[in-house]
């Protein structure tokens, strides 16, 4: 099952790559730099998915004390941190030629930096507690609290004055732009969500095997 998912993910990523460079046009105002969007937006949205799954799995763990739920939360944290980190990096690379700066402390960039640091802290917390049951319990609480930052990141561009533009995809009224840009974006979004699911499936299985080996 996981193997099939892996091939499906690889196919979706390949299709996304071809669409980002072959199907998508050269954007009018930004030119080729805009193509970074096909990685940047899916990375960030897939990390939202990862952190929401993490929060739900944490809640399930607190209620049922099921180690499998903790494994899913742990794996989602690792993948989510990687995705947000890459999302920030790609955003920065895009920001320099378009905005004229690598970084600025507006509400969107600040709140996403907090998101990144919080989930890094989440992984650190896991590593610093030697009793696995206690580590899982503490991390579950942090995992639920940290998720509160996700709406802050998403709505920051509406609530405060920012340099970052408002969402172009995840908003009422749908995408503002050409359909030849929308489709490559959606295919890449699907590909990165599949990649997240694939990574978590593999990682959670490994974590379970690890826990059994120790026990």
């Amino acid at each position: 099952m996981v193997k099939t998912l892996g091939w499906l993910t690889a196919a979706a990523l390949a299709a996304g790559l071809v669409m980002a460079f072959g199907v998508a046009p050269r954007e009018v105002t930004q030119g080729n730099v805009q193509r970074i969007m096909y990685v940047h937006v899916p990375l960030i949205l897939a990390s939202y998915v990862a952190f929401v799954v993490l929060a739900v799995a944490s809640l399930v763990y607190l209620v049922r004390r099921d180690p499998a739920a903790d494994g899913v939360a742990h794996a989602s944290g690792e993948v989510g941190v990687m995705f947000v980190g890459l999302g920030i990096a790609t955003g920065s690379i895009w920001g320099k030629p378009t905005w004229g700066t690598w970084w600025t402390w507006d509400a969107r960039l600040t709140s996403v930096a907090i998101l990144f640091v919080m989930y890094l802290g989440y992984l650190l917390l896991r590593g610093t507690i030697d009793d696995p049951e206690r580590a899982a319990r503490y991390c579950a609480v942090l995992g639920i609290v940290a998720a509160l930052d996700i709406p802050l990141v998403h709505f920051s561009v509406y609530w405060w004055r920012t340099l970052h533009q408002p969402p172009s995809l995840m908003k009422p009224g749908g995408f503002t732009g050409s359909s030849s840009i929308l489709w490559p974006l959606l295919v890449n979004l699907l590909a990165f969500i599949l990649l997240y699911v694939y990574f978590v499936a593999r990682r959670a299985r490994l974590l379970r095997a690890q826990a059994e080996a120790i026990a």
Binding site: T29, T104, W105, I114, L152, G177, I181
Partner: protein
């Protein structure tokens, strides 16, 4: 600490004590010379002057109600232009203009394929290549 940072951001946002940039109206009503500001607005049409030999850039930032004259030394980012949003960092001078040290272009959330414009420009290119008369 994390919770405190979140609470601070929410608090600061609600009280408007931590705004990312001020608008030309807000700056115009109480400008303090020498104080560092971040100023955001639309680059007024017809106001942009670029002197490549001295690298001096002058333009006016407007929010529809008030307008602020801005001067800068150096080339702006590619997306900077008239009728587009910009955020500038710098300070208000006693001489009555805003001296910008850093210019950032604000981008809209719209992404367009070049369909029509491209076709038109190709036609235009063909016309000029074939020596068409106007």
């Amino acid at each position: 600490m994390i919770a405190a940072a979140l609470v601070y951001m929410i608090y600061a946002g609600v009280t408007q004590s931590a705004v990312y940039f001020v608008t030309p109206s807000e700056l115009g009503s109480a400008p303090v010379a020498g104080k560092a500001y971040r100023l955001g607005g639309m680059v007024e049409r017809g106001s942009l002057r670029w002197e490549p030999s001295t690298l001096s850039l002058t333009f006016a930032l407007s929010d529809g109600k008030a307008s602020v004259a801005v001067r800068h030394k150096g080339a702006p980012p590619d997306l900077f232009g008239e009728g587009r949003g910009a955020v500038v960092e710098g300070s208000w001078t006693p001489e009555g203009y805003f001296r910008a040290t850093h210019i950032m272009a604000k981008h809209s959330e719209e992404y367009k394929a070049p369909h029509d414009t491209n076709q038109a420009s190709i036609k235009e290119l063909m016309r000029t290549l074939s020596g068409g008369s106007r």
